[in-house]
C-alpha cells in the first residue's frame, strides 16, 4: 500500500455499569450484560479475531470499562451468562419449529439459532468464558489498542469540586488495567467524553498519554488549534487530546439521518417477547415477572409505520456493505480535502459506543467488518490507526487547553445535572470529601478490619458515582433501579463512614458489603489521599 494521505481512528467504547446481584435470582438489569455479550462483545470479538486470522490488516482502539471487565471476569456472572445463552439457544430452537409454516420468518429464526449457538461456542470454547482475555490477545497481536476509562465511569466534570474523587477514578482505573493486562494503558476514554481543564493533570500523573474530547472541546480550545479536530493538541500538562469528528460520527450515530435507521435493517423494538403467548415466552424471561426483550426480532425497520415488514437478512447485509462503502468513500474525500489544506497528515477520530454495534444496530458488526476490509483492500487514501500510534509518528504538537465539554445532549453537563438527578450531587460530593478526610486521617489503620472498611467505603463511593445512574434518571427508563442503586451506595458508604469514625467497625457489615459490592478487590483507599502513597501505587 502506498503512503496514505491521512488516518482514520475508529474507537469502540464498551461499558456497562456494575450490575451484579449475588443474592437476587431475577435482576432485569443483569440482562444488560448478557444481552451485550450476546449481541455486541462476543460478535465483535469473533469478527475481529476472524479478520486477524485471515490476515486482514486493521488497527482499532477498544475501550473496556473497568466495571465491564469486572463483570466479564466474575465467575457468578459467567455462570449466569452461560445459562442465559443456553436458554436463548433453546428458545431459538423452538422458534425454528414454530415458524415451520411461516417462510417469511423461518430463515430469520434459523439465523438466530445459528448465531446464538455460535456465540455459545465462541464463549465456552474459543474464549473459555474469558472475553477480556480474547480482547487482550487481539491487543497482543497488534490488532487493537486497549485503553481504559474512569474506574466506575464517573462523569468527571461534575467532580470538579471534589478533585480527589476525579483523580481516584483515574488512578483506580489505570491500576485495574495494569492488574488485568500487565501493562499500563496508553490512553483513556473520558466517560461521556466529559472533560474539564485540569483533569489532564491526573491523567498525566497516572501515566496516560492521551484522551478524547468531543469536537467542541478541541475547536474551542485556547489558543485556537490550527488544525481543529484533525490533529491532536497537547495540554500544558503534557497529555494529548484528540477531538471527535462530527461528520463520521453523525453518519453512524444519528437514528434518523444515520445508517442504522435504514428501512432494511432489523427493527430493534419489535421483539417476539411482546408478540407471543406469555406461557411460551415466560421460561425465557429469567424469572422476571414482565415481558422483556429476548433478542429475537423478525421485522425490519420498514419505515415510519407500525406495520413492520419481515426482516430479509440478505437485504440487510447488502445494505451494510453499501453503507460501509459510502462511509469509506466519504472518509477518503474528507481526508483528501484535509490533506490538501494541512501540512501534516490529518487524523479523523470516530468514537462510538460499542453497544451500538450489534445491540442497537444489529448489522453494526457486519458494517464494521466491511469498513475494515474496504479500507484494507479497496483504496489507498486512508489508513486505520490508533491514537497512540499517531502520537508515535509525530514529532511536534500544538500546545493548547481544551474547553470543558461532553458528548451528551447539547455538549455539556445538562444530561447529568438536571431536575431529576441533581439531588445526587450533595451526597456524592460529601462522600468524596469524607473519603479524602478518611484517607488523610487513617494512614496505618488498625486492626485490618478498619482498612477493609476504608477500602469498601471507596468501592461504595465509586459505585455511586457511575454516570449511568444520573443518565438513567434523565432518560426515564429503569429510573427506580438507578435511584435505588444510588441510594444504596450512599447509605452503605455512610454506614461505613460512621462505623470508622466511631471506631465501631463491625465484621459482619464489612463482610456483607464486600460480597455484595465486590468490585475492585485490590482497591486501595489511599488513592483518595494527597500523600505520596497514592503515587506509589502507580509506580509499582
Amino acid at each position: 500500500m502506498s503512503e496514505p494521505k491521512g488516518y482514520l481512528a475508529i474507537l469502540l467504547h464498551a461499558h456497562l455499569p456494575y450490575v451484579r446481584h449475588a443474592h437476587g435470582d431475577a435482576y432485569l438489569e443483569e440482562k444488560w450484560h448478557y444481552e451485550a455479550l450476546t449481541e455486541t462483545y462476543i460478535p465483535l470479538y469473533g469478527m475481529l479475531a476472524r479478520l486477524a486470522a485471515e490476515g486482514v490488516p486493521y488497527r482499532l482502539t477498544v475501550s473496556l470499562s473497568p466495571t465491564l471487565i469486572s463483570m466479564c471476569r466474575d465467575p457468578l456472572l459467567q455462570e449466569r451468562f452461560s445459562q442465559f445463552i443456553d436458554g436463548l439457544c433453546r428458545l431459538a430452537e423452538l422458534e425454528t419449529s414454530r415458524t415451520r409454516w411461516q417462510p417469511e420468518f423461518r430463515e430469520t429464526a434459523e439465523m438466530y439459532l445459528e448465531r446464538f449457538q455460535h456465540v455459545r461456542s465462541v464463549y465456552n470454547d474459543a474464549l473459555q468464558r474469558d472475553v477480556v482475555g480474547g480482547f487482550a490477545r487481539l491487543a497482543g497481536q497488534g490488532r487493537i489498542e486497549l485503553i481504559t476509562t474512569a474506574a466506575t465511569h464517573g462523569y468527571l466534570p461534575l467532580m470538579e469540586v471534589c478533585p480527589s474523587a476525579a483523580r481516584a477514578q483515574i488512578i483506580a482505573a489505570v491500576d485495574y488495567y495494569r492488574r488485568t493486562f500487565g501493562t499500563a494503558p496508553r490512553g483513556m476514554w473520558l466517560p461521556e467524553c466529559g472533560y474539564y481543564p485540569g483533569i489532564d493533570a491526573y491523567l498525566r500523573e497516572a501515566g496516560v498519554r492521551y484522551f478524547f474530547t468531543d469536537a467542541h472541546g478541541i475547536e474551542n480550545a485556547s489558543p485556537r488549534p490550527r488544525y481543529g479536530v484533525y490533529a491532536p493538541i497537547y495540554c500544558p500538562s503534557g497529555v494529548a487530546a484528540f477531538g471527535r469528528d462530527m461528520e463520521s460520527s453523525k453518519q453512524v450515530w444519528s437514528a434518523n439521518e444515520g445508517y442504522p435507521g435504514d428501512f432494511d435493517y432489523r427493527e430493534f423494538y419489535r421483539d417476539i417477547a411482546y408478540d407471543l403467548d406469555w406461557d411460551y415466552i415466560r421460561p425465557f424471561m429469567g424469572g422476571c415477572p414482565a415481558r422483556t426483550h429476548t433478542g429475537i426480532k423478525y421485522y425490519r425497520v420498514t419505515g415510519r409505520t407500525e406495520h413492520k415488514q419481515p426482516y430479509v437478512r440478505e437485504w440487510a447485509v447488502n445494505k451494510a456493505a453499501t453503507h460501509a462503502g459510502n462511509f469509506v468513500f466519504n472518509r477518503e474525500r474528507q481526508i483528501e480535502h484535509l490533506a490538501s489544506v494541512m501540512d501534516t497528515k490529518p487524523i479523523v477520530v470516530a468514537p462510538y459506543d460499542a453497544e451500538l454495534f450489534g445491540h442497537w444496530w444489529f448489522e453494526g458488526p457486519e458494517f464494521l467488518e466491511f469498513v475494515i476490509r474496504k479500507i484494507a483492500y479497496d483504496q489507498n487514501v486512508i489508513k486505520l490507526i490508533t491514537a497512540g500510534d499517531y502520537l508515535d509518528e509525530r514529532t511536534r504538537a500544538q500546545v493548547s487547553v481544551p474547553s470543558m465539554s461532553s458528548w451528551g445532549y447539547m455538549g455539556y453537563s445538562e444530561v447529568w445535572l438536571a431536575d431529576c438527578n441533581h439531588w445526587i450531587y450533595p451526597h456524592l460530593h460529601m462522600m468524596a470529601r469524607r473519603m479524602t478526610q478518611l484517607a488523610n486521617d487513617y494512614v496505618m489503620p488498625q486492626p485490618d478490619l478498619v482498612r477493609r472498611a476504608l477500602n469498601q467505603a471507596a468501592r461504595e463511593l465509586m459505585l455511586a458515582q457511575s454516570s449511568d445512574w444520573a443518565f438513567i434518571m434523565k432518560a426515564g427508563t429503569c429510573v427506580d433501579y438507578a435511584v435505588k442503586r444510588t441510594k444504596s451506595h450512599i447509605s452503605r458508604f455512610n454506614r461505613l463512614y460512621d462505623a470508622i469514625r466511631n471506631s465501631d467497625v463491625d465484621h459482619e457489615l464489612v463482610s456483607d458489603l464486600e460480597s455484595t459490592d465486590n468490585i475492585f478487590p485490590d482497591i486501595d483507599y489511599t488513592i483518595y489521599s494527597a500523600s505520596p502513597m497514592a503515587s506509589a501505587i502507580l509506580d509499582t
Binding site: T96, R396, V399, Y412, S413, A418, H422, T516
Partner: protein
C-alpha cells in the same frame, strides 16, 4: 435489594449533613447550578443575630463575576432572591468563559446582605473558538517530559464553612428548607422532561392470533418428527411442538420410529385456518 443483611438493606439517604455550605457547578456556558445546606446551628445563630429583621429578610444568591479579580470586591454582581425553602438553584449567566462564585445570604431592608456561605469558584466554558491565536508548538518529546515526575497536591472539596453570622421561625424554615423537606428548585431552571399528556381519544385495540400445539407420547427413546421437523422426546416419551398457524390448509404428519428402528407409527391430519389473519 436482595441483600443478605437486613441492615445493609436499608437505603436511607440523609436529608443533610449538618454543615452550612454552598457548592457551585457548571452545567454549560450559560447555566450554573448551586446547591446548599444551612445547618440548624447556623439558622439559630441567624435568628439570634437578626431578631425581628429576620422575618422580613429574603434568602438571596449573589452571583459574583470573579474573572478579573481575586479579592472580595467583585466588579459585576447579580442578586437573585430565592424561595426560602429552596436548597438549590439553576443560575442563568449571560456571558460564557467567565469565573463565578456565589454568595448565599439574607437580604434585609434595602440592600443589607448577611453572608451565610460563599461557594467555590467555577469557570464556564467558552462558546465558539478562542480569540487567542498565538500558537505554541513544542516537540512531543519535550511535552511529554515537561510534566514528568510532577505531582500536584489537591485538596478536598472546597465547600466553604459558614462565616458565622448572628429571630426563630424564619431560621427554622431555612433549616427545614435546606434539609430537603420541601426542596424547591429554580422556576427559571432548565425544563424538566415533560410526560406526554394522556391521549385525548383512547386508542382501543385488540391483537389476537392462534398457534398450534402438536403433542403426544410414544416409547421413550423414539425418534419423532412432526411435518418433517425432528422433535425432541422427553424421557417419559412425551413430546410437544408449537407451530405458528398461518391461513391455509396445513398437513400435519406425526411419525415415530423406535430406538432400534424396527417399529414405526404414523398419525396424520390436516388443520385449516380460513379466517383472514387481520389485526396483526
Amino acid at each position: 435489594m436482595h441483600d443478605s443483611s437486613g441492615e445493609v438493606n436499608a437505603c436511607q439517604v440523609p436529608a443533610g449533613y449538618g454543615e452550612t455550605r454552598i457548592v457551585l457547578q457548571v452545567r454549560d456556558p450559560f447555566w450554573m447550578h448551586a446547591y446548599w445546606e444551612i445547618s440548624q446551628e447556623t439558622a439559630l445563630d441567624l435568628a439570634c443575630e437578626l431578631g425581628e429583621r429576620l422575618t422580613s429578610s429574603r434568602l438571596t444568591l449573589r452571583v459574583n463575576d470573579t474573572t478579573m479579580c481575586d479579592g472580595a470586591d467583585f466588579a459585576k454582581r447579580v442578586a437573585i432572591d430565592v424561595h426560602p425553602f429552596a436548597n438549590n438553584w439553576y443560575i442563568n449567566v449571560c456571558e460564557p468563559d467567565r469565573s463565578y462564585c456565589v454568595d448565599l445570604g439574607l437580604t434585609s431592608g434595602a440592600d443589607q446582605f448577611r453572608l451565610i456561605a460563599r461557594s467555590n469558584v467555577v469557570h464556564t466554558p467558552r462558546v465558539g473558538p478562542s480569540e487567542v491565536r498565538d500558537e505554541e508548538w513544542l516537540s512531543i518529546r519535550a511535552l511529554e517530559a515537561v510534566a514528568h515526575g510532577r505531582r500536584r497536591v489537591y485538596t478536598a472539596s472546597p465547600g466553604i464553612p459558614a462565616q458565622a453570622m448572628r429571630a426563630e421561625e424564619w431560621a427554622r424554615e431555612i433549616a427545614l428548607g435546606s434539609g430537603g423537606v420541601g426542596a424547591v428548585s429554580s422556576p427559571v431552571g432548565p425544563p424538566a422532561p415533560t410526560r406526554a399528556p394522556e391521549i385525548a381519544a383512547r386508542q382501543y385495540w385488540l391483537r389476537a392470533d392462534a398457534e398450534l400445539v402438536v403433542y403426544g407420547a410414544t416409547e421413550p427413546g423414539s425418534q419423532v418428527s412432526v411435518s418433517g421437523m425432528n422433535v425432541s422426546v422427553a424421557s417419559d416419551g412425551t413430546f410437544s411442538v408449537r407451530i405458528a398457524l398461518p391461513v391455509g390448509e396445513l398437513p400435519i404428519e406425526v411419525t415415530a420410529e423406535s430406538a432400534d428402528r424396527l417399529m414405526s407409527r404414523r398419525v396424520s391430519w390436516a388443520v385449516a385456518r380460513t379466517q383472514p389473519a387481520d389485526g396483526r
